[in-house]
């Protein structure tokens, strides 16, 4: 992870896009620097793919400005296309062709391509280089799609749900590959549903909902801004929820039972609150089996933010 971000590679300002009167992207702004992995998180239909496809040049923005390497992607810009690697959410490969054949084809499109055989090895497809694409598993096809995106040595990489159908090992290979590319200066914009992918791979994430960014920053920033730290504890004996809540000076339903014997109360987990809790348990002669203060996970923040805007 680099602390000094490189030059701006992708810049989106107040982007808007409508389809037949339905708003897909509603004033979205984001920027991605060279050497950075930016993750767009959001529920289905939030506008992730639309945003990425506008940046890839497949669709035109209705309003706002979009620049990739300082250029407008919507025009017929052959130079920009030579600097950008694209991995579509699915498809994009000839079902009746073989992986090596496809990689050699795409290699011929670029001035200084990577070696197709090395790339196949890199994504773990050496053994399937002559298998028809239609016979590859979903995860294998995705890895081929990733290799195709990399063959032209792009400066900017767009990955739309890159690891959706991959098994854990393929996912780990992919994460490492993407991380290495970013460390070598490539700007990566990816979309994902997977919170662990966002937390492990992305330097910064943007949570997108209803076509807007509702939270943005490093995964740590986003989680600490979104969660004050829930207190979770497990006891040997049942707890009277209403009595505990009132003893802590909280509303009667503040403390809740997540499952039998497992309790949670909202933070912030101040020393006083913890002292009051343990004091009450001492008075009730209830033994603690476990006591934890937990920072909210990205998933909790994600669910809360995308839930809020639906309310």
């Amino acid at each position: 992870m680099s602390n000094s971000p490189g030059d701006l590679a992708i810049e989106v300002v107040d982007l808007k896009k409508h389809y037949n009167g339905r708003t897909a992207v509603d004033g979205l702004s984001l920027s991605v620097h060279k050497g950075e992995v930016f993750g767009l998180l959001g529920p289905n239909g939030a506008g992730k793919t639309t945003t990425v496809e506008i940046l890839e040049g497949y669709r035109r923005a209705d309003a706002g400005s979009v620049a990739v390497l300082g250029e407008d992607p919507s025009g017929n810009n052959a130079w920009l296309r030579s600097q950008v690697g694209v991995m579509l959410q699915d498809g994009g490969l000839y079902p009746g062709a073989k992986p090596l054949e496809i990689l050699k084809l795409f290699a011929a499109f670029y001035d200084n391509p990577r070696d197709p055989l090395e790339l196949l090895d890199l994504v773990g497809l050496s053994d399937s280089s002559t298998t028809m694409v239609r016979r590859l598993s979903g995860g294998q096809a995705q890895r081929l799609s990733l290799a195709v995106a990399l063959v032209g040595r792009p400066q900017v990489l767009f990955l739309d749900e890159p690891t959706g159908g991959m098994d854990p090992r393929a996912r780990a290979i992919t994460w490492q590959l993407v991380r290495d590319l970013a460390d070598s200066g490539v700007a990566v914009l990816l979309t994902t549903h997977q919170m662990d992918e966002a937390e492990h791979l992305c330097d910064r994430v943007g949570i997108i909902d209803h076509g807007k960014i509702v939270a943005e920053g490093t995964p740590t920033d986003v989680t600490s801004a979104g969660g004050d730290g829930t207190i979770r504890f497990i006891t040997a004996a049942p707890v009277d929820l209403a009595a505990l809540s009132s003893a802590l000076g909280l509303p009667p339903d503040a403390v809740w039972e997540e499952r039998p014997g497992h309790y949670a109360l909202p933070g912030p987990a101040t020393p006083n609150l913890l002292a009051d809790l343990t004091a009450w348990l001492r008075d009730e002669e209830i033994t603690l089996a476990e006591l934890r203060t937990v920072r909210a996970t990205l998933e909790e923040v994600f669910l809360r933010l995308t839930e809020e805007s639906r309310a």
């Binding site: 052959a78 030579s82 579509l88 009746g96 499109f109």
Partner: protein, 243 residues
């Protein structure tokens, strides 16, 4: 345009075309089969001239239709379905490079078909005329018309519907195209419709220039040109790169 990219794309398109059995069936086996069958079996029942003189122009036109409309259209429809067109659109090859490669692929296939049909016809006893040179020009115009129809369907219909439509239209044009038997055999009403279609227009024009005193029938040439301008324009307007 990036020449190296276009060459690579053309090579792949050609090898994919040769790999598809159904494509070889419709572009090579069917035309040659019709040529041999109808020249040996007297089903044509011409009132004048030899069966081969009637069949050769028809089969040359049929070959162009099978490549430019059926083979190109069906392949493009499935490439659209599988996102291949979309993906290639974001490479330095670009959409114009892709269209150039597809054109070169069809032309290469047609040159092979042309040579095969001419050699087979001569073997069967056909006497080529100087009109063959003019016929090449007409077949080129026919290619534009049929490619326009094929791409219009490929770019607007779902892949399966496009598959059915291209094959269905191939049969209709074969029956109404004056290719295997004369148009005059059709009921009058059907014949008038047939004469407005590109298949009959092309085969009648080619038949005209291949006659000893070669001439192009004006009405048929106009019909052919209208299709050659209208179909590609409509295809360019209606074509959607994603299904």
């Amino acid at each position: 345009m990036n020449a190296r990219a276009v060459v690579a794309q053309t090579r792949l398109e050609l090898s994919m075309t040769l790999r598809r059995g159904e494509s070889l069936l419709v572009t090579l086996v069917v035309p040659i089969g019709i040529l041999i069958f109808f020249s040996k079996v007297d089903a044509v029942q011409l009132t004048r001239g030899s069966a081969l003189n009637f069949l050769v122009p028809g089969v040359l036109s049929l070959a162009v239709m099978s490549s430019a409309m059926v083979s190109l259209g069906i392949a493009t429809g499935f490439e659209r379905r599988y996102g291949v067109l979309k993906r290639l659109g974001s490479t330095p090859l670009g959409r114009s490079g892709l269209l150039t490669a597809k054109t070169l692929n069809i032309l290469a296939l047609e040159i092979f078909q042309f040579l095969l049909i001419v050699v087979a016809s001569i073997t069967l006893g056909w006497k080529p005329t100087i009109g063959l040179v003019a016929a090449i020009g007409l077949l080129f115009i026919g290619t534009i018309a049929f490619a326009g129809i094929g791409m219009l369907m490929a770019g607007t219909l779902r892949a399966e519907a496009n598959l059915a439509a291209a094959n269905g239209l191939f049969l209709v044009f074969l029956f109404l195209g004056g290719m295997a038997y004369p148009l005059e055999r059709l009921p009058t009403a059907l014949e008038s419709i047939a004469r407005l279609l590109p298949a009959a227009a092309l085969s009648e024009c080619v038949r005209g220039v291949l006659e000893p005193a070669g001439s192009i029938p004006t009405r048929e040439l106009v019909v052919l040109l209208v299709w050659a301008v209208g179909a590609p324009l409509l295809a360019a307007k209606k074509f959607r790169w994603e299904e």
